[in-house]
Amino acid sequence: MKEFAYRRAADVAGAVALLDADPGARFLGGGTNLVDLMKAGVESPERLIDIRELPLDGIGRTEEGGLQIGATVTNSDLAAHPEVRRRYPALTQAVLAGASGQLRNMATVGGNLLQRTRCGYFTDITQPCNKREPGSGCPAVEGEHRNAAVLGASHHCVAVHPSDMGVALAAYDAVVSYQTAEGAGELALSDFYLPVGDTPHRETALPSGALITAVTLPPAPVRSRYRKVRERASYAFAIGSVAAALEVRDGVVREVRLAYGAVASRPWRARTAEAVLRGAPADAGSFAAAADAELAAASPLTGNAYKVTLLRNLTIAVLTELAELAEPAGPTGHDQEGSAR
């Protein structure tokens, strides 16, 4: 690890000013990814600006009935928050499906969105990697790519975004607020991550020097679920995951949100599938057709084609489960917890 300087920021303006004055600096949240990457030599910032003391650790209701989550809220606090658990259960499930208790106590919401891929070529500085060293090549395309992307990738990079939290946030139409030296701004999560194209090293649309300050969730269907599949029962990144929210009335899909994890360079919002489902019968046939419509765009490599089957199966399983929950007593069944409908 290269030697670095360390500063603790006292307020948002100060943090942004420190970074603005020092392009070689990086913000330090929980450090659960950045510090690992520094040890591996993948990241070598001149200075770390510690933002953990900033007053961005609150969770509160918005005027429109949604929820605003401060950027330095830890994963543990987010998952345990009563409003999150009650109204955005897929978010709690997603966060708890990730990492370990110790890591969740450190990791922050802002940092989670900005974490880097765990692709084994990216984290090994002796290997080529277009994301780490633009133009050096992508050995994963011909090499080990069992957990590579099947949607939205390019031959320049097939890495997947590793976040669980982000998949739920994508399903909930989250909006990311940030601050720069010039002022405040917002990005919908769907616009937050850039397409891979031939610039896999450019990952987000955040302006340079920006500090994520909050993530806002609009009201959303309460019936939601996150399910993650990984190669062991815990403490592993997803090989495929689904965040879904579903409202069914009289056997028909009224509202649906669907997002996939571990299939693309970003949490993948399955809007094609959603369009197929709205107004369709809430049954396995519709769910399969929706998944097939979404996954028609998949372009798997030889070693990760299983993901298409996995995501199809997961989509059907999770939506079926939600549909049964939504109408347990037949066509007039309704949400027992009260809801944001």
Binding site: E3, T126, G143, E231, Y235, A284, L310, N313, A317
Partner: protein, 732 residues
């Protein structure tokens, strides 16, 4: 006061008091409070730190090492490489006559035989400065084309003897096969697996009063000292190695580049130098289990009696060492057949050197053989346990020697009773629990049991306490506690009165913590010394101020052992749940019933056996090092990328044993360190077959493989009917 007695095989004449009672580890409090100091924790005045630089090519030559800039970096005191490092020998016979690990010859020439080969050592005042220097060192290479592509189909595979002969055969395989009513012919593969103990390899070396002192984390202090003396051509006895606490070994903690580099630097700088491997470095410097590609052919009569047992295994070795993973050896013990052939071949590749990893040979070999037995049982319409019991041999299948205690039948019978095997519906894919398909499987286990000559000293003190000194190693097994029990019983005193000192080459030659033979070998030495001391004290001798010491050497006693087939046995049972929609496999419960000799300490023995079974879960479902054929390196060489079972993967595991004292052993010990791994992966794979109807012949059984219903990878026994089930939806 000292005297030497030959070890004798006298049976224990009085009922032992501590043997077989559960005792917590004597150093347990130190370990859980952090007071126990491991090699890298021990402070030394003027200690310098060495950081290894590894090659980033898979084959070729070092063209230049540009060390000038690094020498000028803050804190850097030395940069060692092939142009300036002290000379060492790497051609000496190490333990059991084997050649030492080739990284002993690091920095001796410009050859790079594999990715991750040690090419330089940067020594600095602090570990951070050393690491920064190592990261900054520019090494120029002349790369040559490399070959790391392991496959059992390779035509350049060659037979290689290891600690056991490459090939043993009897009978006419083709004729017996033709006469067989039922035949199984299938290929099984296991991937490259790494031991990677929690405590990384580390060594600190310094010279004191003309003697080389080495603090090290190893599996045998006297072995390490002897090897270092040979490598540096020092007088025997001028090297002292201490290794008090060891955070796991599993076969990996032998003499490797870290001790060599530390001694080189300490000699050059005339100050203490510590060299520790990083986690990533361990993946190319600490050894690993070779991948295997195995073919098993079984031929049987309709009643399941074997006519043919043919098991061939191909593994890999490096271009600078001849190591063989003897995966076919399990069949030499477990089953007899008119035609019996077991063979081992290797392919030499540009890869790091494999080594013994917990249950070498037996772990991958039992996966293949015990999966094949399960396939045979199914084809014969026989219960898998009944098939095995029908094939119990009365003598060594190839040696003809009598078995020194063979209680496999008792393991299966008691295990089946506890596991509820009798209620099993043998039809595959009939039990469900929601989205999960349920299945159960079983497999046999065996591991050799032996003892190796060792020396020990037992001292009586005037205050009524005793000290045992033996160059044993406690690599986390509870050996120190077991030896306290052994000594206390031989002395007929309470264990609390006995202090056991281990991990110091000064205590004389002793077998290492390896081969599941540590406790047995050390007990062979301790028991007669303690017994002799007890008899002397019974005569009422005065104990001098420096104590009354009796030394022993078990060489003569062990040489007098009658030849026999000496092994431990076990029956492994597993219940799994498989989600066919996602490919997830969960082990719901396991039971291992073992016949593993007299159990010295049930607490730590169970810990060893359960730990081995957890290894079996990892082997069956998780462990796999992926080599990038293009670069020759590993992908994801860290504990985030290389998966072992997490706590959540380990549900209910029970390990227990049947009464099984080893005939001829003074205490009746066999060994428990490795047999827990053997057969465990096969039991799980057999349970997956029972749950899903799909036979997995390739480990690990990953979600993607389950999802694709993959049964075999290019082997000759493809069962296309079993390849089905792709894209099955979970609500099917």
């Amino acid at each position: 006061m000292t005297s030497t007695v030959p070890a004798v095989t006298a049976p224990v004449t009085a009922p032992p008091t501590a043997l077989g009672t559960a005792r917590t580890r004597v150093e347990g409090r130190e370990k859980i409070t952090g007071a126990a100091r491991y090699t890298g924790d021990i402070p030394l005045t003027s200690l310098a730190h060495g950081s290894l630089v590894l090659s980033t090519i898979a084959r070729g030559r070092i063209r230049a090492v540009d060390d000038a800039a690094v020498r000028a970096m803050p804190g850097v005191v030395a940069v060692l490489h092939h142009l300036n490092a002290p000379r060492v020998r790497g051609d000496y016979p190490s333990i059991m006559g084997m050649a030492p690990d080739p990284t002993v010859r690091a920095f001796q020439d410009d050859r790079v035989p594999h990715w991750g080969w040690p090419v330089a050592l940067v020594v600095a005042e602090t570990p951070e400065q050393a690491r920064a220097g190592a990261d900054a060192l520019v090494v120029a290479y002349e790369a040559e084309p490399h070959d790391t592509d392991f496959s059992g189909e390779r035509t350049d595979a060659f037979a290689l003897d290891g600690v056991v002969p490459a090939t043993l055969a009897k009978g006419d395989e083709e004729a017996e096969l033709a006469a067989s009513a039922v035949v199984v012919d299938a290929s099984y593969t296991t991937p490259e697996e790494h031991h990677n103990p929690m405590e990384p390899h580390a060594a600190t070396a310094y010279w004191q009063d003309g003697r080389l002192e080495v603090l090290d984390s190893n599996q045998g202090a006297s072995w390490t000292a002897e090897d270092l003396a040979k490598a540096f051509e020092l007088e025997p006895g001028t090297v002292r190695v201490r290794s008090e606490h060891v955070g796991g070994g599993f076969g990996s903690k032998s003499v490797r580049v870290h001790q060599i580099a530390a001694v080189m630097a300490a000699t050059e700088l005339q100050r203490p130098v510590r060299v520790a491997m990083t986690r990533r470095q361990m993946f190319s410097l600490a050894g690993y289990r070779s991948p295997t590609d195995q073919r098993v052919r079984l031929g049987a009569d309709p009643d399941g009696r074997l006519r043919v047992l043919s098991h061939g295994s191909v593994s890999q070795t490096s271009s600078v060492y001849a190591f063989v993973e003897p995966a076919a050896a399990a069949g030499r013990v477990l089953y007899d057949a008119a035609a019996h052939r077991t063979s081992a071949q290797v392919v030499s590749l540009d890869v790091p050197t494999p080594t013994s990893m917990r249950a070498p040979g037996m772990a991958p070999g039992s996966f293949a053989l015990e999966s094949a037995l399960d396939e045979l049982a199914e084809r014969c319409g026989l219960d898998p346990i009944e098939l095995r019991l029908r094939n119990e041999p009365s003598a060594g299948p190839l040696s003809g020697l009598p078995f020194a205690g063979r209680n496999l039948r008792a393991c299966f019978e008691e295990g089946a009773r506890r596991f509820g095997w009798a209620d099993r519906d043998p039809r595959p894919r009939v039990r469900r629990d929601g989205r999960w398909l349920l299945g159960t499987g079983t497999a046999a286990a065996t591991f050799h049991a032996f003892a190796v000559p060792s020396t020990a000293a037992v001292t009586a003190w005037a205050d009524g306490t005793f000290t045992v000194r033996i160059a044993a190693a406690d690599i986390g097994t509870g050996a120190r506690t077991a030896l306290q029990i052994v000594a206390a019983d031989a002395l007929r005193v309470a264990p609390e009165r006995v202090q056991v000192r281990i991990g110091d080459s000064e205590f004389g030659p002793a077998w290492l913590a390896g081969g599941s033979a540590g406790t047995s070998s050390w007990a062979w030495a301790i028991t007669p010394a303690a017994g002799e001391l007890r008899e002397r004290l019974a005569l009422g001798v005065d104990i001098p101020a420096d104590g009354l010491t009796v030394r022993s050497d078990s060489t003569t006693a062990l040489a007098g052992q009658e030849p026999a087939e000496r092994h431990s046995y076990g029956a492994q049972f597993a219940e799994v749940a498989v989600d066919p929609g996602t490919g997830e496999v969960r082990v719901r419960r396991m039971l291992g019933m073992f016949a593993a000799g007299r159990i010295v300490n049930p607490l730590t023995a169970r810990n060893q056996l359960v730990g081995g079974m957890v290894w079996g879960i990892s082997m069956a479902l998780h462990e796999e090092a992926v080599r990038d054929v293009r670069s020759g390196s590993l992908v994801g060489a860290d504990l985030a990328g290389y998966h072992v079972a997490s706590h959540a993967d380990v549900a209910h595991i029970e390990a227990d044993w049947v009464d099984d004292p080893m005939p001829g052993d003074p205490i009746g010990i066999k060994g428990v360190g490795e047999i827990g791994v053997v057969g465990a992966a096969a039991a799980i794979a057999n349970a997956v077959r029972h749950a899903t109807g799909v036979r997995h012949r390739r480990l690990p059984i990953r979600p993607d493989r389950v999802l694709c219903g993959e049964s075999v990878d290019g082997g000759p026994a493809g069962e296309s009917l079993e390849r089905g089930l792709p894209g099955e939806s979970p609500d099917a």
